[in-house]
């Protein structure tokens, strides 16, 4: 094809946040979307005929999960090595996200993809393979770093990205963070789900519920410390709908991730040059879906007060902050770098 000048210059930039539970996209044409990171293929031809699609992504996949081989490809923040479906699932998520951005025919697609920090360490190649099929040029960065870039906090701060599979910590020094500047722990959103599930099972042994329902309770009601409202949900007992108060269980499950986060923040701050520790303590920024737990920033700040004068805030839009930062990186990146990749 002989491209004219206009086509050559036509580039659509993407920022993608590829998360364990949710994946988001921001693009230079104004798209701002997020989806559940679930992909499913019909189990057999009957399922395919009933569903009418060969692959389902996001909420749609969750809704039809009984008829599907369902994948959540970035479990615990990494693509499961050796499981072909996981890499295929990442490809499908990327394809779906790009479709949401509606690129014009012939447009070049330049993407920056933010992934959990561990995934960047462990399977950066698998991610490149999965994503590069759909874009012309690609860069992969860690999620907390892309959040920092998006909010212009390039130095003297710590980003705490509370996701589903992992909590990623990243200290920014005005340069691209090294592996020592980043740390990942696994007491994240999925851990809260597990805690809540077992607490509810203990309290209501005769009630019927599954992990997906528990996840929805968490997303709807999560909080730490105190709130005034009651939290009551309907669960079937012996086939009969019954109202249950789950407020205490929700609080206990959500607060279970506070101690490891506090411990990791203090440990990482202590590693920094003492001259800069004060500035970083005043600049702890939470991102990711986990930062939507009501009261978590205040709770962390109080817990950290034992270790110094900490200030903990939350980014404005935690679900899209990573993708927005990745888009900003993509747009700021000089074109010669894109060409070289």
């Amino acid at each position: 094809m002989i491209f004219n000048e206009e086509q050559r210059e036509s580039v659509l930039f993407f920022g993608v946040d590829l998360g364990t539970s949710r994946s988001a996209i921001c693009s230079s044409n104004g798209t701002r979307e997020w989806i559940e990171s679930f992909v499913g293929w019909p189990k057999d031809f009957i399922a395919e005929k009933v569903i009418g699609k060969s692959v389902l992504v996001g909420t749609e996949a969750l809704q039809h999960r009984l008829s599907l081989d369902l994948y959540r490809p970035l479990d615990r923040g990494v693509i499961k090595e050796g499981i072909e479906g996981s890499e295929r699932a990442v490809k499908e998520i990327i394809r779906h996200l790009i479709e949401l951005a509606r690129p014009e025919p012939g447009q070049r697609l330049h993407a920056v993809v933010g992934v959990p920090a561990d995934s960047l360490k462990i399977n950066k190649l698998a991610i490149r393979r999965a994503v590069s099929e759909h874009v012309h040029s690609l860069m992969v960065v860690s999620e907390p770093f892309s959040i920092a870039y998006g909010i212009d906090l390039l130095s003297n701060c710590m980003i705490v990205d509370i996701g589903a599979g992992t909590v990623d910590f990243c200290v920014m020094h005005g340069t691209i963070p090294s592996e020592e500047d980043q740390k990942t722990i696994f007491t994240a959103g999925d851990y809260v789900d597990e805690q809540l599930y077992s607490l509810l099972l203990q309290k209501y042994p005769n009630s019927k519920f599954n992990r997906n329902m528990v996840r929805q309770f968490k997303e709807q009601f999560s909080f730490v410390r105190t709130i005034d409202e009651q939290i009551c949900v309907e669960l079937p007992v012996n086939g009969k709908p019954s109202i249950h108060d789950i407020k205490d269980e929700i609080r206990r499950a959500c607060e279970s991730i506070i101690p490891p986060i506090v411990e990791t923040i203090t440990e990482m701050v202590s590693r920094v040059d003492p001259e800069f520790q004060t500035r970083i303590r005043k600049n702890i920024v939470l991102g990711g879906g986990g930062s939507l737990i009501r009261g978590i920033a205040q709770c962390l700040q109080e817990e950290l007060s034992e270790y110094g004068d900490y200030q903990v805030t939350r980014v404005a839009d935690p679900l899209l902050a990573g993708a927005f930062g990745a888009l900003k990186l993509a747009q700021d990146m000089p074109s010669r770098y894109w060409e070289a990749l």
């Binding site: 002989i2 050559r8 190649l125 012309h136 390039l154 691209i176 990146m333 060409e339």
Partner: protein, 346 residues
């Protein structure tokens, strides 16, 4: 004023970060090539192994081998580009002529890669020119750089369809890439085969011809002029040139490149002449193209068509014709590798 300095510091940080992200991803991408391809040894090393195997086979089969004339150490170290003799390292007192090796190869009915049980894994396609370097320009304004890029893309897709997954392009878009960078890229991905695509321009004659080159000295004035044109933008200095020449003691590379060039030329000409009976076969030639110089593996430059020919220029503007040329090139590569793609063209 403090604001000014703070802003400047932020800009500096930002620029450093962007560069860091780029460099990190460049490393990942390069490592990706290494892992994905499970990095085979380069063909040049395989060629050496081939020599060893041939020597062993010759000894076993009792073929007549010519003793190596005694040489001083200085003579042995003298770089040779093309010679009629290969020193077989496994048998220090014997050597075997190229003709004998060829006989052996013909007898065995096996190509080099098969004989050694080796596959060609990494194919690099070089779309000539790019960026500010337009290459030849047709009367209707069509530029050589666009034709070569499009054919290279189609060729890559075709080769992947034919079962060669590891195909790389020295440029994926309209970027200016120095010749030295193209060579460096091919080396970085450990290319096993290198094909550079160009379109000819013959201002004084309206003919349409196809010709394919492999690296080597030439006395043909027109070929030297052509090499001069295509070598524009080379970053190589004379010292580099000498150094690379010194490394080119591999006669086998030249032989393999010639075979590769013949396969490309045959496929291009035979198929193209079905569509255009007036097309001329200018054959396979040696020429000092810089882009072919720095590689230790079979590498050729194909002038796939003639942009100065008005009828051909109109044809080159069609997607179908460019796709056909890409398929002919793929057939040439496939035939060279002896895996047979001819059936696809029936």
């Amino acid at each position: 004023m403090p604001d000014f300095f703070a802003r400047k510091r932020v800009l500096r940080d930002r620029s450093r970060i962007l560069r860091g992200v780029y460099e990190e991803n460049l490393l990942i991408a390069r490592r990706g090539f290494n892992c994905d391809l499970r990095r085979k040894r380069s063909l040049s090393r395989r060629v050496l192994a081939y020599g060893i195997v041939c020597a062993v086979m010759l000894v076993l089969h009792g073929l007549d081998v010519t003793p190596v004339p005694s040489r001083s150490s200085d003579e042995v170290e003298t770089p040779v580009i093309a010679t009629d003799e290969i020193v077989v390292t496994a048998s220090p007192v014997k050597s075997v002529s190229v003709a004998e090796l060829r006989t052996l190869e013909q007898k065995s009915d096996l190509p080099l890669s098969r004989m050694l049980g080796l596959g060609i894994h990494n194919i690099v396609i070089d779309a000539g020119h790019g960026g500010d370097d337009l290459g030849a320009i047709g009367k209707t304004g069509i530029a050589e750089k666009d034709i070569t890029l499009d054919i290279a893309r189609k060729l890559k897709a075709r080769l992947q369809d034919l079962g060669y997954p590891n195909v790389f392009m020295t440029r994926e878009d309209d970027a200016a890439v120095l010749l030295a960078e193209r060579v460096a890229f091919a080396q970085s991905v450990e290319a096993d085969l290198f094909l550079s695509i160009h379109v000819n321009w013959l201002p004084n004659t309206p003919v349409n011809l196809i010709e394919t080159f492999y690296f080597g000295p030439s006395r043909d004035k027109r070929v030297l002029e052509l090499a001069g044109q295509e070598n524009r933008g080379s970053e190589y200095g004379l010292n580099d040139f000498k150094e690379i020449l010194a490394r080119l003691g591999t006669v086998m590379k030249v032989q393999e490149s010639k075979d590769f060039a013949e396969s490309i030329q045959k496929s291009l000409f035979v198929n193209s002449s079905r569509k255009n009976r007036k097309i001329r076969d200018n054959g396979v030639k040696r020429a000092p193209f810089v882009v072919l110089l720095g590689l230790d593996v079979p590498s050729v430059l194909a002038e796939i068509s003639c942009l100065s020919n008005p009828a051909e220029e109109l044809m080159l503007k069609t997607d179908e014709h460019r796709r056909d040329i890409a398929w002919y090139l793929a057939e040439g590569i496939s035939n060279y590798l002896n895996t047979g793609a001819e059936d696809d063209f029936q």
